[in-house]
Symmetry: D2
Subunit: 352 residues, 4 copies
């Protein structure tokens, strides 16, 4: 049944397959009067464009967004905003060989189990291409958040086992991996090249921070801010773990270490990641996602065909070696959508 | 705005505060004809009852569920099932001292920021007591899942830094921590006692597995099975990280290591945790949660009062030293609710 | 699947069967800081209490509401408000004879078709008794609306074919039928008595007006104010038609007759019923419902039993002769819930 | 906030303004494996095309639907189906004169009250043009219903005061008004011409019937079939009243007249309109809508401008004289969407 919508007040509905005519998103519930144009969305899309690092696919999509509704004379009108991105460089030929095979690590086998039919071209609906629509919606969400001064940033903490040893937020825009530690960028580059040569792929870790988030966002007890963030981030294709604040480390701390003691006007530490009892506390929101390696590899793997017969497969197609850094703007977009939605939901907490 | 409901086809709505007259849950959308009585719910509630380990609070709630609707002649009727649990042992006196202070690590400060008023008695709505209602709902969800043979189990992988070195599922019911490794139980017990003496608290790690989950559950692209699980689990009070399958480790594997190659009728490994592209693949569903230490500690901590004035606080009240193992049945309940909902949603994927 | 919730920001979930232990409602999303107590809800419930007119059932329920959560120190806290009403006078004996028969005009046959099982005692979930929970929720909604000065009133335009010839709103509280025309009250009374003697029942027409509704409420294009009102009112058991403003008459007017021309600060007429393009225009909201006669009659009727065998039935039990006037506070409650929800949703239209 | 989606399992989200680049709809939750192509949607759209009767606007939109996603190799895949219709003949010049005026009977004044900005071109989002997207979605819904043999038909019972005196369903496709009584077609035609000459407009009554609807559809107590139908139909622009079955007449019947007595395998009458306690009973679903006259008339009317200054207005633009018969396929579409959604929801009532 329907599952392609996200959000309550600010609701996005994505549509489209990897090799269909187009993909896109309807953003419903965007407040009126917000300046919005295609250039703003283009800027966001450009950050997830393929072909910018050695880690990226050879597929070259211009990813030009067209706004078809909801904007009049340069501002949003409060009605649904439809953003469409045409698929220009879809090449399904590489996929026809594997149309009846299940690629390991992919949704081929589960989509067939679920629906009984599947669009095998480029992964169909399960392709990471769908995330372009999320990024477009995230740009709209960010425009909503701008009114509150909320800013969201991401960095690559780890790639293929190479870890950033420090976080310098000024550095993230200076290198192709959005790595916050310039000293390990070369190492990341080498790791990616090496793995590519082996016909393999790598994963990594991305941190997302949101600053200036007003206290009070999140709707107990099931739509808490952390619950919404976790759902939003885990719903991105390659993500296998989500941490908030101290995250996994919190499990090894004592209460006296982990509690953020409260000083006048601020917290002494931020192990909570800016969220207490599922509600923002005014501090920085901190989340991290752990991203699995891209499943499409040229190394030969065992699999079965649609009849269950054993065979092997070596993925061709055009693929990234790592979902990082292209996943970074997707994470940013999802966090923006969560925050915009909860910001608007918080308006409805008061009737005066 | 409204945030106390969870699920689409199988929808639970919890209500109640820690020291109010009662807490409870409405389970709407439960299929008809399922045997259900209070004994079945009692069994589930007994597993999260306080007072069973050294880690537990001294508050003694009998936690007796009463079914007020939705069941007739021993079976569900398809109408809303209301389960109520009276609060018997609520003692608000220990809280009156801190009624105007914000306890570090708690939602006191954020509830006030959000709502402008707050029920300070025992944490009000933010209390872990609310999870009793989830456990009751989880028992109903499990009754739904029984028809598909789905079974959910949990174990304590880590407590206060003490790790299980092996997982023996037969062992988990034999000790008070639901630890799957009998060799470390004593060590866990000692760790908990030691921390209690220090007026401190500890966290840990819980693993949840669901077996016999049919392939095909999960609704792309925003209500994927892993997204729903992450949201459901992160929405439990003390949880700060959620992993699926290989989880954080996946970020350090290569694609050839991480991909679960496909053999006739099964997968060679289960790094995916039974979920591909957000849809169950028929293998075991595996999730882990990282639980922060209980924030209520007797050690003195810095905080401010409602006027922003600096002060210190040493929690009295009656509290657990660790959310584990009482959180285990809550995790189990949330996973059951997610699976029951997605099982029913999958029915609606077909019109024939 | 789940269908017992209504509303998005202000969401009510009713539960309970006619002859179960209790019925009730969870009101989630009520803004915090609103004065609320049981007396206020009692006042609303008293208006739908049976036994006040010749048209009413002999069942005497005290209908005492108990607030179990969501209110602290006399005001709402923003958390779910659970209101419970015990069933005291449920007498299922009269129903045991007809436990395997389908009463014409009732949901017996459709509940069984839908669920495969049914609680036959007093109509189970389909009983009008469920509307007591709606009235309780409506009282909370009205408390929300009070902050905007919104007032909702109802009157009985027609009963058993006897029509009010004029609307005097001061008159409605002066007679037992909430009839706005004192000159026809005796006639209504006679009609009801006559029909009762015949073992039959009657229907009628109720008008609902909401004044001081701010302009701007209603969410195009599917959650328009008129669409929400129509859904809310048609969802009340005996309602078979809903009109807004000029309603059916509008179909016979020309555009120049029907259009409400706009003067400075007001409309010349109110054929629209205060709603243009699904959004409130600041004028009075006007709705009318057409209510069918109570299906439970003592006259013998043809029916079949659960095995499909032809038989006859003469309803015993204790029943109203007309749903009017007891349906009036239910209509008022549903309109209040719709308006409170849309009032809060409108807050989320702006992000500033 | 978001209000452009309708349905739970089968969910449609429309987008687009009258004079924007395009309008369209995302249909999410459509079951997989259903044959669907643009021709099927075109057939449905052709029935609401302007320019077919004297009652129609002069605007000539080809209304060519393009399916951009969710269909592969001729069948639905279970993923969102995006259908786009370009606006070709939008001519905003006639509207620029009245860009700062509020047209009586239109949403100009309420959209501005709600959003603070508005797209004045051709009514923007409030234009009946949006219903083309609903008709497209309705065609998909009908494809879902085909699997159950459900058939939906409509007829014009009344137009400009001219009433059909009998219903001959074979007749409705033989005349331009979808009138079921050939003897009054000429009279309708004359009435429309006369009104047009006067610069005025007319309304009417449309009946919708759905046959072969399985018993059991509808989700008590708020998503009852009649409640959903009423909401869906009242949400169509010009509709001011909705009746189910005997409708308004039921209010004047006694219980013994109104109850549909039950015979073996069928009901003796169908005053209920096929719905008992909000659930389909297997009989024909009957609904009627009362449609107001088109508010755009060339007769001069009083209004104010955006500054509240009194003025007069005579609508130019290109408009229908009556919403009938173009509203008929829109009613049919909304009923199809309601039924498809409830058909799928009913699947989720059972877990076996």
């Amino acid at each position: 049944m329907a599952g392609s919508s996200f959000g309550t007040c600010f609701r996005v509905t994505t549509w489209g397959e990897s090799h269909g005519k187009a993909i896109g998103v309807v953003v419903d519930g965007c407040p009126p009067g917000i300046p919005l144009d295609e250039a703003l969305i283009q800027t966001a899309l450009d950050k997830r464009k393929p072909g910018q690092t050695a880690a990226s696919t050879a597929r070259k999509e211009p990813d030009i967004p067209v706004i078809l509704s909801g904007v009049f004379e340069g501002v949003t009108t409060g009605t649904p905003i439809m953003i469409e991105i045409q698929n220009k460089d879809a090449d399904s030929r590489a996929y026809s060989d594997i149309a009846r095979l299940f690629r390991p690590g992919h949704g081929d086998i589960t989509y067939l189990a679920k629906y009984g039919v599947r669009d095998w071209r480029g992964g169909g609906r399960a392709s990471a291409r769908e995330t372009a629509a999320r990024v477009a919606a995230g740009a709209v969400a960010q425009a909503v958040l701008d009114s509150s001064g909320v800013e969201i940033k991401t960095c690559t903490l780890e790639l293929g086992g190479v870890k950033a040893r420090r976080i310098d937020w000024n550095e993230t825009e200076n290198n192709r991996f959005q790595c916050p530690d310039r000293d390990v960028v070369a190492e990341m580059e080498n790791r990616v090249k090496e793995v590519k040569k082996q016909g393999d792929s790598v994963g990594g870790v991305v941190e997302i921070r949101a600053v200036n988030v007003p206290a009070g966002l999140g709707e107990p007890v099931f739509d808490k801010l952390d619950a919404r963030l976790a759902g939003a981030l885990m719903g991105i294709g390659a993500v296998k773990a989500v941490e908030i604040g101290a995250g996994c480390e919190a499990a090894r701390m004592t209460g006296s270490e982990n509690n953020d003691q409260i000083l006048e006007g601020r917290f002494e530490t931020n192990n909570s990641g800016g969220i207490l009892a599922g509600i923002s506390n005014g501090d920085e929101i901190i989340a991290r996602v752990h991203v699995k390696p891209i499943p499409s590899i040229t190394k030969e793997q065992k699999t079965v065909d649609e009849n269950g017969k054993q065979t092997t497969l070596s993925t061709k197609g055009r693929h990234d070696v790592s979902a990082i850094p292209r996943i970074n703007p997707v994470c940013k977009a999802m966090v923006a959508i969560v925050l915009a939605d909860l910001l608007l939901r918080q308006k409805a907490v008061s009737c005066s």
